[in-house]
């Protein structure tokens, strides 16, 4: 297959030494195997995230996202924008949709962009895509299975899709209530998806894990409990906020509820990086607070073939 190129919007959490830096590491490894070139948008800024609305309001938020789109169009012309973070993808896609739906909003946004010297660069003729869409739509499951050299045999994994890669836009062809792409990805990596996992689209609290920790942790408890109930030994997710919330509060939840949660929460790209023969480091496994020892073992094994 020919090399695929995308304009890449990594987002704040994937910066070096940020909360999803291990996501970034594994994505790089995965993309290397799939021969994907990610051209980072120069000097991208924050999307405003899901909490930016309150202080930021409407237009400033759209202006922030429009700036990224304009920068992409300027520096990576003709390339679709790909985000790895759910919130980045959602925010950018939302702005893109709103601006194409309202001439007034577009004019206002351009007026603001002018202050950043970018009004002429915004055309709005690119697609805003999540990395998962790239994998499913531009490669397809069959193609993604080909580079597997270390199948993740015998690992039962709960696919936690969460909210923002699933709603309101979601991945084409998937249902909002029971999206299956994570299960399918898990399966082609040789692992065993826990298909009955019934909290796969439950909200983890998102940004409110900071401001409303008790309420959010009650959600997270449900998410983890159900994974255990269905026999999962690992959770996989496509979203940095989901990953962090479900992973880092396990001790606090244990303390509060007397549970004994200790379950690794991985990114799909980490599973793929390992299955594709990457080392533990290349898969960012060292970035997990709850270590995925089964994956580390597989990563340490020699590849098949």
């Amino acid at each position: 297959m020919a090399k695929k190129e995308y304009s890449f919007y990594p987002g704040c959490s994937s910066e070096r030494k940020a909360s999803a830096s291990n996501y970034m590491v594994s994505v790089e490894s995965m993309c290397k195997t799939l021969d994907v070139k990610l051209n980072e948008i120069p000097d991208w800024n924050c999307c405003g995230a899901s909490i930016g609305y309150a202080e930021g309001g409407e237009l400033p938020r759209h202006a922030m996202n429009a700036r990224n789109i304009a920068l992409s169009e300027k520096h990576n012309p003709g390339q679709n924008i790909v985000a790895t973070c759910a919130a980045c993808w959602l925010g950018t896609k939302e702005t893109h949709e709103r601006l194409s739906g309202s001439a007034q909003l577009l004019a206002d946004t351009k007026e603001a962009l002018k202050e950043a010297g970018l009004d002429m660069d915004y055309k709005g003729d690119v697609e805003i895509r999540h990395m998962v869409e790239v994998l499913i739509e531009d490669f397809g499951y069959e193609e993604l299975a080909k580079p597997v050299v270390k199948p993740l045999e015998g690992i039962k994994i709960a696919g936690y899709v969460g909210c923002q890669t699933n709603r309101p836009f979601g991945v084409a062809g998937e249902s909002f209530e029971n999206p299956k792409y994570l299960d399918k990805l898990t399966e082609i990596m040789g692992a065993e998806p826990v298909e009955k996992y019934d909290q796969k689209v439950t909200c983890c609290g998102g940004a409110l894990a900071f401001s409303e920790p008790d309420k959010s942790q009650a959600q997270i408890k449900k998410i983890i409990e159900s994974a255990y109930d269905f026999g999962a030994e690992m959770i996989v997710t496509p979203c940095p906020v989901c990953q962090m919330n479900v992973e880092v509060y396990q001790d606090q939840i244990n303390k509060k509820y007397g549970t004994k949660f200790h379950i690794p929460v991985m990114y799909y790209s980490q599973l793929m990086a390992v299955a594709y023969g990457g080392t533990a480091r290349e898969a960012g496994l060292n970035g997990n607070i709850v270590r995925a020892t089964r994956l580390e073992e597989i990563a340490a094994r020699p590849a098949k073939k």
Partner: protein
């Protein structure tokens, strides 16, 4: 801030629905609610809302301005978008809730101590510094929101999490000194300021 509020009260008199339609993000959708209640039943934080979205819509139509805008309810939105995808009338409920929260906040009548409101403010200030999130400053800021003593307590409670993040290379201990900065931070400031100006003009706020 409350002058702003008084001006709006004056301008719209008893017609809160009209006020919402004119000033709140996706406000014109409010009248399309058919009161089925699917949104309320779909919200992960539903039980914590004093008035779930279905009620909020009804209250807007009933002109219950203060009860809506001063409510903690909208601040319970986790942005999970469940209500949006399930609403049979396809109302952008999440955005309307965000819009109402933002409107109340700008009028200065949103609940002062609501943690999500304060966190949101902190967050925006954080990204406005350099254009990107500085996660350490954000968390530290969050813990010290309620004063120094409380902050130390919360910080200590969260210390294991922080240490975990730090150990796995997912938290920059030097973050307090800088980081999360775009080269075009200055441009971003100007751009956002302009956007705010325009928005104030459009929504009838004297900026």
């Amino acid at each position: 801030m409350s002058e702003r509020n008084n001006a709006m009260v004056e301008k719209y008199r008893n017609d809160f629905l009209k006020e919402v339609e004119a000033n709140v993000e996706e406000g014109p959708w409010v009248k399309m609610c058919m009161q089925c209640g699917v949104c309320s039943g779909s919200c992960p934080f539903g039980p914590y809302w004093e008035h779930p979205p279905q009620e909020i819509f009804m209250m807007i139509r009933a002109g219950k301005r203060d009860e809506v805008l001063k409510s903690e309810s909208m601040w319970m939105c986790t942005s999970c978008y469940n209500c949006i995808v399930r609403c049979p009338r396809e109302l952008p409920i999440t955005h309307i809730m965000h819009g109402l929260a933002n409107y109340a906040h700008r009028l200065g009548i949103a609940p002062k101590m609501n943690p999500t409101r304060r966190f949101a403010k902190l967050f925006w200030q954080n990204i406005m510094k350099g254009g990107r999130v500085n996660e350490l400053k954000l968390s530290v800021g969050l813990y010290f929101m309620d004063g120094f003593a409380n902050g130390v307590k919360k910080g200590l409670a969260m210390l294991p999490v922080g240490i975990g993040m730090f150990k796995t290379g997912r938290l920059n201990p030097l973050g307090l000194l800088g980081g999360g900065k775009c080269k075009g931070a200055g441009d971003i400031h100007k751009m956002v300021k302009k956007a705010q100006e325009i928005e104030n003009r459009r929504k009838g706020f004297a900026s």
